[in-house]
Every structure is written in structure tokens, then in C-alpha cells.
């Protein structure tokens, strides 16, 4: 079944972008990468809804096939176990995104607002709706329990200041997937000087997220 799918893909888009000719196995690997990156990065990363949608499609497809199989078939058991594992990764990924949205909602919405035309969106449409609703509910709640009893000049609250920003200076562990040269490392103390490091493919490092944030979104490094 997976064979058929990957062949379909390569037949249709022979010279199209890589995403189109991904085999299901590569798709699952992409999902796992996105899962780990999202788990370990201090800020919300760009949404990967194309991966999520494809995985959902695969799962629905497989589940529909399993409906037709009679009970007690050994193969069906294997497929169910695999589906459960993929589902776990998928929901863990989406859940960690929602947690970050809840934690940083004003900043997430602010970035979404200031995003230029054509720039990819940070949030999927569903997540955007969730963030807006969360914002509105938090505001209503604060007003109902406290703010409306305050003197009028103290009734406004600036959410952007009230909710802490993601700390981009946190350290992260990472593995290098594509060789990088001359990454500037800022010193911890004033006595030390800036220095640069080269990131060899396959090597593992501990450093500040801010330095390598662009490499995470381009896929050149994997957070671990």
C-alpha cells in the first residue's frame, strides 16, 4: 500500500518540490523531527500543517482499510500498533504547540499581526482561532474577577507586558544535519570575547537557542 502511494507521488510530480515526492516513511520522520523541535525550542515554531494533514490522511486511510479486515487478523494488529504510535507523536506534537500558545498568547498573536504579506503563518487556522479565543477569555476573566473593581485609571492591562516573552536565550541541545560554518557565539561574561564555531554534520552541541534559531526553522539542525 505504501509502495503504491509513493509511486503515485513520484509519477505526478517528477520535477516538483521534494515535499511532493515524500514517501510515507519520510513523512513520519518529518513529523518526528517537528515533534522534537517543538518540544525543545523555547518559542513557538512555524506550523507544519502540511505534514500534519498528510499524516492524518495516512492514518484515516489506514484505519478505513482496517475496518474492512475481519477480527483476529495478525496483520491488522501490527497496523493498529503502528497507528497508535503515530497518533501518539501527532497528538504530543499538537499538544506541545497548544501549551506554548497558552503560555505566550499575546506575543504569538502580535507576531501574527505584524507578519508581512506572503510570509508563512506561525499558526494554523485552527491554532489562530484558539489563540484569539484564549486571549478574549483571559481578558474577560481578568475583568470579571478584578479589573472592574479597580479605579478607572487602572483598569487597562497590557497583555504584552503582563505575559512573559519566550526566553530565546535558553540553552538547547542540538544535532547538526547540514554542515554550518562560522556560527558566532556570544560570550557569557564581559572578559571573554566573541568566538565562532563550525558545526560539523552529525556533531552534537549545547548552546543558546538565539544563535541557531534560523537553523532550526531551515532544518539544518535538529533539537534533541
Amino acid at each position: 500500500m505504501s509502495d503504491a502511494l509513493s509511486e503515485d507521488g513520484s509519477d505526478i510530480n517528477q520535477d516538483d518540490s521534494q515535499e511532493e515526492v515524500m514517501t510515507p516513511a519520510e513523512l513520519i520522520a518529518k513529523l518526528e523531527e517537528a515533534w522534537l523541535n517543538e518540544k525543545f525550542s523555547p518559542e513557538l515554531l512555524e506550523n507544519r500543517s502540511e505534514v500534519v494533514e498528510c499524516v492524518m490522511e495516512q492514518l484515516t486511510h489506514m484505519e478505513a482499510n482496517l475496518q474492512r479486515v475481519k477480527k483476529g487478523d495478525a496483520k491488522a494488529g501490527f497496523h493498529r500498533m503502528e497507528i497508535d504510535r503515530i497518533r501518539f507523536v501527532l497528538s504530543s506534537y499538537l499538544r506541545s504547540r497548544l501549551q506554548k500558545i497558552e503560555k505566550f498568547f499575546p506575543h504569538v498573536l502580535e507576531r501574527e499581526k505584524s507578519r508581512g504579506e506572503g510570509q508563512p503563518s506561525l499558526l494554523s487556522p485552527e491554532e489562530f482561532a484558539f489563540a484569539k479565543e484564549y486571549y478574549a477569555n483571559t481578558e474577560t476573566y481578568l475583568r470579571a474577577v478584578a479589573l472592574k473593581r479597580m479605579p478607572p485609571n487602572l483598569q487597562a492591562v497590557d497583555m504584552l507586558k503582563a505575559v512573559p516573552e519566550p526566553c530565546l536565550d535558553s540553552f538547547v541541545f542540538l544535532r547538526v544535519k547540514e554542515q554550518q560554518e562560522n556560527i558566532l557565539i556570544e560570550p557569557e561574561t564581559d572578559e571573554q570575547r566573541d568566538f565562532v564555531v563550525d558545526l560539523e554534520e552529525g556533531s552534537q552541541h549545547l548552546m543558546r537557542y538565539r544563535t541557531i534559531a534560523p537553523l532550526v526553522s531551515s532544518g539544518a539542525v535538529q533539537l534533541i
Binding site: 505504501s2 509502495d3 496483520k75 497496523h79 500498533m81 557565539i185 556570544e186 560570550p187 557569557e188 549545547l206
Partner: protein
């Protein structure tokens, strides 16, 4: 990250099993497996191997590195070297635990292997603690951690990263620029 999630990732590794049933090739989303023939070794992911083993449908062949002599050599190397030696497998601790807990009857000298792997683990964790200590003492901003496995990183992650963040906050508060923005907050 929860240790069980690291174990989850380890379960994707492949092991050889000898099935006692026959089944055609199966086409999983993550790749094809099989065909399964009684008595013929076949590669499957650990999660499937353990499931089959629990249902007494197969015998698990230990991975190549899970061998007393090889592990003894690695233990010696690990004790001799100051840096981290290459780990027996990127998931050696998890796989040892999983396979020995569920299939110890298929693995020769299971107890010795358990002790050896524990020794290697202890040596490596001691090194890790030492290097974390010097990392913090010297206020480094970058460290290369080749050969460290995910489970090892994971045991120190929470503590090390939280401490680094705390120290960073304390330190940046001393600097005038950020002190000003602090005042604005109050």
C-alpha cells in the same frame, strides 16, 4: 522530555527476530516488514519484536553490541578515555532495559550484560556531571557533546538548562541596560 518518550524513540530501532509463524510481507506506513517464515531471521522494530515476544511468537536475537566481550572492551575504553567514547548504540541503555526485561531468556549471559551496561552508564554519567560542572564554572557559551546519547542528555537536561537560565537571569540583571527595563516593569 519524559524518559518513557526516549524509550519510545528507542523502540524504533531494528532487531533481528526468529519468528515461529509465517506471514506475508506487511506494508506499514513507516516501511515494509517481512515476509515472516518460521525459523528464518527477519528485521523488525523493537516495539513489534517485544509485542511478538510477549505473545510467544518469536525469539529475539540480541543486537551485535550486546555481547559480554564487546561490552567489556567498551567499559575499559570508557574508563580509560577522558572524553566520551562512542556509545555501543545510540539507545544502548533503553534497549538493554527493554530487551533484558522482556526477553532475558533469549539473551545469553543476561546478568553480566546488565552489570556491564550499568558500569558503562555510570562511568559516562560521572563524566557528564564533571563536564557540566566545568561548563558552568567557566561560564562557557558553547559545548560540543559528541557521542552522548539522548537518554544521557535527557537525564541532565532539566537541571542543567534550568540552572543555566537562572544564572543568565541573575547575570543580565547586573548589567545597566537590562536593569533599566526591569525598573520600567515595576
Amino acid at each position: 522530555m519524559d524518559p518513557s518518550e526516549v524509550e519510545f524513540l528507542a523502540e524504533k530501532e531494528f532487531v533481528k527476530i526468529i519468528p515461529n509463524f509465517s506471514l506475508d510481507k506487511i506494508y506499514l506506513i513507516g516501511g515494509d516488514l517481512g515476509p515472516f517464515n518460521p525459523g528464518l531471521p527477519v528485521d523488525v522494530p523493537v516495539w513489534l519484536a517485544l509485542n511478538l515476544k510477549q505473545r510467544q511468537k518469536c525469539r529475539i536475537l540480541p543486537p551485535e553490541w550486546m555481547d559480554v566481550e564487546k561490552l567489556e572492551a567498551m567499559r575499559e575504553l570508557e574508563r580509560r578515555e577522558e572524553a566520551f567514547a562512542p556509545a555501543p548504540s545510540p539507545y544502548y541503555m533503553e534497549l538493554t532495559k527493554l530487551l533484558l526485561n522482556h526477553a532475558s531468556d533469549n539473551i545469553p549471559k543476561a546478568d553480566e550484560i546488565r552489570t556491564l551496561v550499568k558500569d558503562i552508564w555510570d562511568t559516562r554519567i560521572a563524566k557528564l556531571r564533571l563536564s557540566a560542572d566545568s561548563f558552568i564554572r567557566q561560564q562557557e557559551a558553547h559545548a560540543q557533546l559528541d557521542n552522548l546519547t539522548l537518554m544521557e542528555i535527557n537525564t541532565i537536561r532539566q537541571f542543567l538548562l534550568d540552572s543555566l537560565n537562572c544564572m543568565y537571569k541573575l547575570r543580565s540583571n547586573r548589567q545597566p541596560a537590562s536593569a533599566k527595563s526591569r525598573l520600567a516593569d515595576y
